[in-house]
């Protein structure tokens, strides 16, 4: 019972902390773009007053816009209105893709991003850790040849790997389509043809993210595992005559822990890279949406994109930390005190 209570406290604290962080992130998301020099509403309104010559009419349009966007209220009131709408999922109307609402655009792209990045990062992470562990255990040729290759590959930016895969497998070998999330001649439905198209469009973006994730993880895991293999408890276990297999099991369990923390800490960076890789393939996810928004100066859409990315990263982080609480015996022990 005491044990359970400890866990509750641990999880409660974690969730509280993430909530505070989320609120902080939301405030930043609201305040930063409003610090932009010049009046954003004036520049938007400039479009509709172009050609008008009557000064009072122009002023009237400007006032009308200011009222519509609520910029004549104090900042704190604006925030209140904005937050209230945001909670209901109302992020306003997109400037660039008028009259679509921002929420609608986000809804249609967030699924693509999640379906692409979550599996890709996980597969890359698992493969990388296995490879690193094997490299640490076998050493020799495997360690000397394959690891430097992955070290080099992992230094490619995600979009660089994407563009290389695109050139080789998409354009030269014509194995996979080069852009989009599904064939341009199809309408999303549940037919086999559509699913097949989605799968073949999925391959290049997926593998480009996996490949660059593998390298970094393998290197981290290798040095962690080597570090652990030299630890006293390993020597002691060998001395006791415990089977090699069992020792390797202990070693990897211990080496895994920092890797999980590493995953949590680098998730944001990884996602950022993968989002940019989406652009190369014009994949219909958040990354491509973000680029369109930036090109079109579509400020409500940019703000919603950054917010949704933040929420995704925070949720993923929270998830990793909650899992960590279960697997790390030290957290368990700390809660029992």
């Amino acid at each position: 019972m005491k044990y359970l209570k400890g866990f509750k406290k641990y999880y409660g604290q974690k969730i509280m902390w993430y909530l505070i962080t989320l609120i902080f992130a939301i405030v930043l998301n609201f305040v930063l773009p409003r610090l932009m020099p010049g009046d954003p509403v004036a520049s938007i309104a400039a479009g509709s007053v172009s050609g008008m010559t009557d000064a009072t009419a122009i002023q009237k349009v400007l006032n009308d816009y200011a009222e519509k966007f609520g910029v004549n209220e104090p900042m704190i009131v604006q925030f209140g209105i904005w937050a209230k709408n945001a909670i209901r999922g109302d992020f306003g109307v997109s400037f660039g893709q008028y009259p679509r609402t921002v929420a609608d655009i986000i809804r249609s792209s967030v699924g693509w991003t999640l379906a692409l990045q979550l599996p890709a990062i996980l597969v890359g992470w698992i493969l990388g850790n296995l490879l690193g562990a094997v490299a640490a255990y076998i050493r020799g040729a495997f360690d000397k040849v394959i690891l430097p290759v992955f070290l080099f590959v992992s230094n490619f930016p995600a979009f660089g790997m994407a563009i290389i895969l695109l050139t080789v497998f998409g354009i030269n070998l014509k194995w996979f389509p080069t852009s989009g999330g599904y064939g341009f001649d199809l309408i999303p439905n549940m037919s086999w043809e559509f699913i097949r198209s989605v799968i073949s469009h999925y391959q290049l973006p997926f593998w480009s993210i996996v490949l660059i994730t593998i390298g970094g993880q393998a290197i981290g895991m290798r040095s962690m595992a080597i570090y652990e293999l030299n630890a006293d408890y390993v020597k002691y276990s060998r001395f006791l005559g415990i089977k090699d297999r069992k020792i390797v099991g202990y070693v990897f369990r211990n080496a895994m822990l920092p890797q999980i923390t590493g995953l949590a800490m680098s998730l944001g960076t990884m996602m950022g890279g993968a989002l940019v890789a989406e652009i190369i393939f014009s994949y219909p996810g958040i990354g491509s949406t973000l680029m369109t928004a930036v090109r079109g100066q579509d400020y409500p859409l940019i703000s919603a994109c950054t917010l949704i990315i933040t929420v995704m990263v925070l949720l993923a982080n929270l998830f990793v930390e909650l899992i960590y609480g279960v697997i790390d015996p030290r957290v368990k022990a700390a809660q029992q005190d």
């Binding site: 902390w17 993430y18 505070i20 962080t21 902080f24 992130a25 930043l28 998301n29 930063l32 773009p33 409003r34 610090l35 932009m36 020099p37 010049g38 070290l151 080099f152 230094n155 490619f156 930016p157 979009f159 660089g160 563009i163 290389i164 695109l166 050139t167 998409g170 354009i171 080069t178 290197i219 040095s223 080597i226 570090y227 030299n230 800490m265 998730l267 944001g268 960076t269 996602m271 950022g272 890279g273 989002l275 940019v276 652009i279 190369i280 973000l290 680029m291 930036v294 090109r295 400020y299 940019i302 703000s303 950054t306 990315i309 933040t310 990263v313 925070l314 982080n317």
Partner: protein, 416 residues
């Protein structure tokens, strides 16, 4: 100090990384001295010219000509008839020419052309071919005939008075020009980009600018990280709690998002190369803060620090003389990684269209952005983006190697 340096330069990883990085850096310094052309000058009138040497056609025609007894036919056949054309010819010959697979060898152009000339006829019964396909074969046949025709090319000038064409020279198929004789020529080792700029010259300048962004970002991030880490670790207590709370927050809030928000907020016009570097630095100090703090905590109760405290030295002095030297290796390593991630961040920002807005300098990210915006991969212009990707990877690779090398020197447990 001397000893540490010697140790560092004995690490093969560090040395390899250092050599690659130094080579890149030297190139960015020496190349502009040799090639003084403006890197952003739009030389090519059109986009994505292939790599190679371009010679003035007029100079070539008017220059000294040499006759060489070389078979030029198969060379130009090879050049002008693509692999797809060859396959199409083979297909026609199999279907309508009555030939078998064994007769046709697509690798032997002259043989294939011979078969084609012997068998093809536009009037033949071509069942199952669309009209457009039939026309394609007619066109192909015409172009083959054109190549096979051994006529001289006539060079003519317009007489300014009468407006009539006057033949000034004829060019036979075996006449050659020595490229050294051609006064006007220009070599684009990596072709030109979408604006018609020399990619190699642009790339060198972009590397230099990107390195500057990386170094500015690295210096700022390291300074902030070091400062916060030292205070947090050494002072402890409430100060530590507050700093760590903020640091943890900025670790989880993706710096990518902050970068986008801040870059967008400062506005297109203000976003110069230096400012982008500063923004990147301002969003990437958390790692340094964390590692410096944990190092300081393990150092602050060491005997020599306590001794210093007992001697009444000021906090400033203790931090500077008793703690900082022990951190030097960590700080250098963090700085190296910050440079590399700074360059990457710039590239990602530029891909989104939030990179430095400058008309005087290119960066690696901007080059990537232009190449993708003009669909360089889709039209096969690998020279516009591949060298850029490799340069980014090489910079990151060399810096990471240096970092790993240093890590092995300072953490003996990681040594092989």
């Amino acid at each position: 100090m001397k000893n540490t340096l010697r140790q560092v330069f004995h690490s093969p990883k560090f040395v390899i990384g250092f050599v690659i990085f130094a080579a890149l850096l030297l190139t960015t310094i020496i190349y502009p001295i040799v090639v003084t052309a403006d890197p952003l000058e739009m030389v090519g009138n059109g986009n994505f010219f292939k790599p190679g040497t371009y010679v003035s056609v007029k100079d070539a025609v008017e220059g000294t000509r040499y006759t060489l007894n070389i078979d030029v036919k198969s060379g130009s056949l090879d050049n002008k008839i693509s692999a797809e054309d060859k396959e199409a010819m083979k297909e026609w010959l199999l279907k309508f020419g009555g030939l078998t697979e064994a007769d046709i060898d697509t690798d032997d152009v002259e043989g294939l052309i011979g078969l084609w000339e012997a068998n093809y006829s536009a009037d033949a019964q071509q069942k199952g071919l669309t009209a457009s396909k039939k026309k394609y074969y007619v066109r192909l046949n015409n172009s083959i005939d054109g190549i096979l025709l051994d006529n001289d090319v006539i060079i003519a000038r317009e007489n300014p008075e009468t407006g009539e064409l006057e033949q000034s020279a004829t060019v036979g198929s075996r006449e050659f020009v020595n490229t050294k004789d051609v006064a006007n020529r220009r070599t684009f080792i990596l072709g030109t980009d979408n604006f018609g700029r020399d990619v190699l010259t642009e790339l060198v300048q972009a590397t230099k600018t990107s390195l500057r962004v990386g170094i500015i970002a690295g210096v700022i991030a390291t300074l902030i990280g070091l400062f916060l880490g030292l205070i947090s670790g050494y002072v402890g207590g409430v100060v530590d709690d507050i700093i760590m709370f903020i640091t943890n927050m900025f670790t989880v809030i993706p710096s990518f998002v902050l970068l986008i928000l801040i870059s967008y907020s400062v506005g297109q016009n203000a976003r110069g190369v230096n400012l982008v570097g500063i923004i990147i630095g301002l969003t990437s100090w958390t790692w340094t803060t964390r590692s410096v703090r944990s190092q300081v905590i393990s150092l602050r109760n060491r005997d020599h620090v306590n001794l210093s405290k007992l001697s009444g030295h000021s906090m400033m002095r203790i931090v500077l003389t008793d703690i900082l030297p022990y951190l030097a290796s960590y700080v250098v390593m963090a700085f190296i990684l910050q440079i590399s991630s700074g360059i990457l961040s710039e590239a990602q920002l530029s891909m989104l269209g939030l990179g430095p807005s400058t008309s005087t300098a290119a960066t690696l990210g901007l080059m990537m952005n232009w190449a993708t915006a003009y669909a360089a991969p889709l039209n096969g212009s690998w020279w516009a983006y591949f060298p850029v990707v490799v340069t980014i990877a090489l910079i990151a690779f060399s810096l990471n190697l240096m970092n790993t090398g240093l890590d092995q020197v300072f953490n003996p447990q990681l040594r092989d």
